[in-house]
Symmetry: C2
Subunit: 344 residues, 2 copies
Amino acid sequence: MNQPIRRMKSDTVTLAHGGGGKAMRDLIEDVFVSAFEPDGMEDQARLTDAALAEPGARLAFTTDGFVVSPLEFPGGDIGKIAVCGTVNDLAVGGARPLWLSAAFIIEEGTDVALLRRVVASMRAAAAEAGVRIVTGDTKVVERGSADGIFITTSGVGVIPPGRDLAAEKVRPGDVAIVNGVLGDHGAAILAARGDMALSVEIPSDCRPLNALMEAACDAVTVRAARDATRGGLASALNEIAEAAGCGIEIDEIALPLRTEVKGVCEILGLDPLYLANEGTLVLFVPEAQADAALAVMRATEAGAGAVAVGRATQTHPGRVVMQTVFGGGRIVDMLVGEQLPRIC
Amino acid sequence: MNQPIRRMKSDTVTLAHGGGGKAMRDLIEDVFVSAFEPDGMEDQARLTDAALAEPGARLAFTTDGFVVSPLEFPGGDIGKIAVCGTVNDLAVGGARPLWLSAAFIIEEGTDVALLRRVVASMRAAAAEAGVRIVTGDTKVVERGSADGIFITTSGVGVIPPGRDLAAEKVRPGDVAIVNGVLGDHGAAILAARGDMALSVEIPSDCRPLNALMEAACDAVTVRAARDATRGGLASALNEIAEAAGCGIEIDEIALPLRTEVKGVCEILGLDPLYLANEGTLVLFVPEAQADAALAVMRATEAGAGAVAVGRATQTHPGRVVMQTVFGGGRIVDMLVGEQLPRIC
């Protein structure tokens, strides 16, 4: 662009910044365009990628709204989650993420400095994941009509020919592997809210998982994967058990948990199986490939803590059962109500 | 799916419906899946389209957040706008819209019946536009943390080989054509809010414009098009004038305005050039093709009222000037503040 970048004149976002006029252009150019560097000022991104034209390749398309409170927390902020969450939704389906959109709903009075931090964080997360944020939108609502900042990201990726992950493909005997400790994001948000007076600081696990998924899919047959976000590992496993029509057995001793998270759960009576994660997934591989999968996952940054936690079974189809440390079995149901609202 | 569809047990949306557990699945299956019929229950849509693989074809990707208040108004609701708005963003860039995503942020306490009406309206608008809503997301926030329902839609389309619309391509002499009356959406929202005690009922112009754009692009050289949403026709023309580096002259007498809209503007001191539209666009064609463009546009439903309103000029580059009914010229600047908040 030949025009100099417009600078915002205000320290807070006002309704005029969402009105479609000059103030909105100042906000968009100063805060968003300077960070995301879109190709042009048309309202749509125009994109090509050779991988999309490959015979048998499929396009993957997903969307996720983020309403997390507080907006900033140890290990991340709403911007980092908004990028990683959508990248991970694409990745666990076997897609290579390419492009993201970002739509902001901003409450009047929001600090421009906060917005800049969130946008910088999105830019950094996108760079880490190797994706581009190519198009966006901004709306401003009156004070009291939204909580600071909501972000909805959508993502487009490409599923290479022949790759077809689906929960239905999980077979009895398949091994369930998680890439690292459970519940960090949920515990981080809980601690960051401050109303529990917890003295520990637990960083969220928020991170992109596409490099990990790509490595696993290249090396072994991944039947299915799910990122264990809202509803935690328990909900992810229940979805898979139901779709595959088989049972799933997990081993309580094998579940990787940070001592601090275990402590928070014991104090508050929470079950870490239901705590949200933003950089943790579970994937299923044939038993004969489990060791190879673990090795290739552990060689990646996000998979360093990979561990087998259970397996699919012919018994109790549609149900998830945990072998407890005391030797008994207990049914791990889907979450019935909400464990924590506004977690992502 | 073999499973029977789960039914919601509640008349209003609760926080549990956003928690990632059973209640959320009930909401999603009962309200969303039954209306949108996605291909599967994976979190991502997996898509193919022959047009995307054509050599020289490009993928178009766009996003838009909708925060309109009130949620329902004469001629539409937030669901219809959310579909038409994103379809139109794709269409005015020359893309054929294919797939949409829809992310809902719902305030606790929202009526499920209202949500069903909005979703039905999205389904109808998608059918009218010939697009599929293929993926979605739902978040629920506490009472007072959002205004009822916010919807963010993203859209993916394909730009056929050789088609390249851009504001920069407008040349002096090109004719500016609008497809119908101006300001209906803005006036409809204003009247629907009720606080002006206006006795007229003006229906919003909310409608998909892709069939109209497709017909125009097939028949003539469309240099650039813009839908005149937030900021109205004035902002759309200013953007084009700035990008193209030419002036634009419009003729006040030629501007198509409904009598009721003119009346509302006169009473309230509003300028219809800045009123939002949701089914009105302006496009530029070479002068020699203006008659052909008008004929082909008028043959479409959304273009029945198509009329030339002005032209690009070599004089006053970057500026939009209106020849008034009194014979003078007045500069039509971009909107400086907001004319009406929460218009779309």
